[in-house]
């Protein structure tokens, strides 16, 4: 393996790691969205229950 190849490999595995982290962060943000939506639904249901709707 030449130095150039070694460097390319290193960069490649770093990029792979970064891509996985970015994917995990994206999923995490989506999860937040879902949780926020769930909280909203729970609150709406609670209000409806209190008003006997």
């Amino acid at each position: 393996m030449t130095e150039e190849q070694s460097k390319i490999e290193l960069e490649k595995i770093y990029q792979e790691f970064t891509a996985k982290v970015e994917e995990a962060k994206k999923n995490y943000h989506q999860k937040i969205d879902e949780i926020l939506a769930k909280i909203d639904e729970m609150k709406i249901a609670q209000v409806k229950k209190n008003l006997n709707i």
């Binding site: 490999e9 290193l10 790691f17 995990a24 926020l36 909280i39 609150k43």
Partner: protein, 547 residues
């Protein structure tokens, strides 16, 4: 604390051996970049939860438990994925290191390695702007989807438009979920992203800015040291030339014309080498001057980034601080009222005790039965009245105590928020601080003595200082000394055309030069203005006594 610990954060990324870059440095830099990513993720996992916890406060206990579990799952999934990714990276990295160690690898050039390290560290991409900051701010500022919040200020209602556009690109499913959220929930989500921008984005931008400052400070030091080498070489050569001239004068009469011509040729070669070195040194001074400007500019950039985040944090902290101030005011008022009631209660208790004593002592005063009865009736009635006041007072004190406990409880959230933002500011101060980086002082070029017989040197201290007459000839001669390689030399006769030379000032000379065509220039047209300005800056070092 050890020397290693004292090193600034960025210095630990690429150390003193930066200029002699090798793979170990690159490995280390990549490992540190990975650690940074992990740290970012760790912060991200923590940063949203206070907001979410706040929004589930009104839910039933069972429902909050469900949300808390979801939150914990999301957190674990994020951290777990990153840990797995890191393990995969570590294993592959080790393979590369093993492979590399078994082969004889030709080293890359310093510049290419440095550039690669910067790319791997993401320094080039984050320089100036944080990707997080960009995405959040540009989305928020785009303001296509907005809601209106009514804010009460001094009795009047102010309508404030708040962007509810999602700060990151969402999938169609999540976009639909996001759109179903109330404006308040959307605002909470956006605020959470803003928080990430400050705590994570700020650290990235400040650390990148600090790294660039550190690197350009180092480069300035290197250039100045090279400049010192030129000085030494020029000094040695000047000394050699002086000795040569002395030797010629001693043996001149004994030599025939041919020998004398040969020796003079050798002397000219030396003089020409000296001029060449002086030109190189002058070019070096221009590089140093450019580098110093760059380094100082980066310091300014870092200050700007720091100010930006300071303002962002102050803005975030402000509503909590205001809330805290109002609560403190209310609390002080309640405590003062409580003290007042307690003081009244004590007075009533004392009066009651006195009256009870008088009642018990009535029979010992020698009064008639009738008087005792009448006095006893009055005293009992007064005691009953006082008892009523005491009960009323005790009720008020109890109400005030409850109020004080409530306000104290209400203070917890804003106090924690203010403390949290103060801590974030302290963390950012640490990341952006360049206090531990020793600023390389900019050296003023030395004025070197030049042998009488050689061509006058650029820094030769024979500039005639006159308050009203600028030495044009001296200026042009020195200008030409630093313009031999780039074709920006000036012919005095061209300069004199249409100019009343004796009355010119330094500024006027510079103005004339900046308008000259320089048809022989070897500097690209787009760089010409900058190159001329740099030369003028260098000339000002010599002609600093002129305006």
């Amino acid at each position: 604390m050890t020397d290693q610990e004292k090193k600034p954060l960025v210095e630990s990324e690429l150390d003193e051996k930066h200029l002699e870059f090798n793979f170990n440095d690159l490995d280390q830099a990549v490992e540190q970049a990975i650690d940074k990513k992990k740290e970012e993720v760790g912060l991200l996992a923590k940063v949203d939860w206070p907001e979410i916890m706040k929004s589930i406060a009104g839910l039933e206990q069972g429902q909050s438990a469900v949300i808390e579990k979801d939150v914990e799952d999301a957190q674990n999934q994020l951290l777990g994925t990153v840990t797995e990714a890191e393990e995969v990276f570590e294993s592959k990295h080790q393979e590369i290191i093993n492979e590399r160690e078994t082969k004889d690898i030709e080293p890359l050039s310093v510049e290419s390695k440095l550039s690669q390290a910067e790319e791997v560290l993401g320094e080039k991409s984050v320089r100036g702007e944080s990707p997080i900051a960009n995405s959040v701010e540009s989305e928020i500022l785009s303001g296509q989807d907005t809601s209106v919040e009514v804010e009460k200020t001094g009795g009047s209602e102010v309508q404030k438009e708040i962007s509810t556009e999602p700060p990151v690109e969402l999938s169609s499913k999540n976009k639909s979920l996001y759109e179903r959220l109330s404006d308040k929930a959307k605002t909470v989500a956006i605020e959470a992203f803003k928080t990430v921008d400050i705590s994570v984005g700020g650290r990235i931008r400040l650390s990148a800015g600090k790294y660039l400052y550190w690197w350009h400070n180092k480069k300035l030091d290197k250039l100045q040291k090279e400049g010192d080498d030129f000085d030494r070489q020029i000094g040695d050569l000047s000394e050699k030339l002086k000795k040569f001239d002395n030797a010629i004068s001693q043996v001149e009469s004994e030599l025939n014309p041919k020998e004398l011509e040969k020796i003079k040729e050798d002397r000219e070669k030396l003089a020409s080498r000296l001029t060449g070195l002086e030109t190189q040194k002058t070019d070096q001074e221009i590089l140093i001057s450019e580098q110093a400007k760059k380094r100082d500019g980066l310091k300014g950039d870092l200050d700007e980034i720091f100010k930006e985040y300071h303002n962002k944090i102050a803005k975030k902290q402000e509503p909590y601080q205001e809330q805290l101030n109002q609560l403190n005011e209310t609390l002080s008022s309640l405590e003062a009222d409580k003290i007042g009631y307690e003081s009244n209660l004590a007075e009533f208790e004392a009066r009651k005790a006195k009256l009870v004593g008088q009642l018990e002592n009535l029979t010992n005063l020698g009064l008639s039965k009738r008087d005792i009865k009448a006095t006893s009736k009055v005293l009992k009635s007064t005691i009953i009245q006082i008892n009523k006041e005491i009960k009323k007072g005790e009720l008020e004190v109890s109400k005030l105590s409850k109020g004080i406990a409530k306000i104290t409880k209400q203070q917890e959230v804003p106090t924690a928020k203010v403390k949290n933002w103060k801590e974030t500011m302290a963390v950012l101060s640490e990341w952006g601080s360049i206090d531990q980086i020793e600023e390389v002082p900019i050296k003023t070029p030395e004025i070197r003595p030049t042998p009488e017989t050689s061509t006058p040197g650029f820094y030769e201290n024979n500039v005639e200082i006159s308050a009203d007459k600028f030495p044009i000839n001296g200026y042009i001669t020195r200008w030409n000394l630093i313009s031999q390689s780039d074709g920006l030399a000036i012919k005095l006769e061209d300069f004199k055309k249409n100019q009343s030379i004796s009355e010119l000032t330094l500024k006027q000379v510079e103005s004339i030069i900046s308008k000259m065509p320089f048809s022989q220039s070897r500097v690209p047209r787009y760089q010409l203005k900058n190159r001329l300005q740099n030369k003028m800056d260098t000339m000002r070092i010599i002609f600093k006594n002129y305006k």
